[in-house]
Subunit: 135 residues, 2 copies
Amino acid sequence: MIPGHIRVTTDCRTVTEILSRIGDKWSVQTVVQLGSGPKRFNELRRQIDGISQRMLTLTLRGLERDGLVNRTVFPTVPPRVEYRLTDLGCSLLKTVRGLAEWAIENRPEIVAARQRFDGTASNGHTGDERRSASL
Amino acid sequence: MIPGHIRVTTDCRTVTEILSRIGDKWSVQTVVQLGSGPKRFNELRRQIDGISQRMLTLTLRGLERDGLVNRTVFPTVPPRVEYRLTDLGCSLLKTVRGLAEWAIENRPEIVAARQRFDGTASNGHTGDERRSASL
DNA sequence: CTGTATCCCGACTGATACTG
DNA sequence: CAGTATCAGTCGGGATACAG
């Protein structure tokens, strides 16, 4: 159906694992924010909007652990910590941008599909569809 | 730093939303499996490996709701239900393949970064790193 | 064969308070 | 400023049993 398809049994896992890594609530937003240059902790905190201090810390730790972000501490007082994308992080950002384009381009269609699905009571299954179009 | 970057405040959300959609534990695997052609329920169930009946149902419902998968019931006995990717689903698959290539190409580097991170006790923070290389 | 309905547990996440 | 610690609530997801 589609040419050059991936070795499903092996590579699917890899993709799923990567998605588990970046597919959480905050990683992508964080990476994208860092895409416009190095940022400090509270700078990120303000720009990411809904994120809690705790989750920003955890997200940055995770990204750092995976070599996507560098953490630099300047031993001044008050302490200054800078986060910046590594080369690996930058390459991920480029890839994510591909997904971003798809998302932006196809969101209307997805929203429409949802409304269609949620609207018709004749879906075959008995009903009570929750989640009224959170996208 | 990186040219042509996306409008962070607006589009990030869209990407995050899409990631919430496909970033769950089973959606990508399901989509990729369906990439090689229409499949029946238990056929998918066998090929996806760890998935439970419940989660396959929920995943397929979600994909159907978002217009990524078509569900066709043949009113025979025993019932036969076929799932296939829509055009939208196919286009998503192509995009995901980009991510897949990145994942496959960079997994070694990520794994290495993790070992480095987990190995050094001199990370600055006090310690007790959980998740010993699940990737 | 293709689902639906419950129960239940652990993980994720937010809120809040405290520290160097 | 840049975190860490703790507690509590929500939710994803597995196991199991049942149904058309």
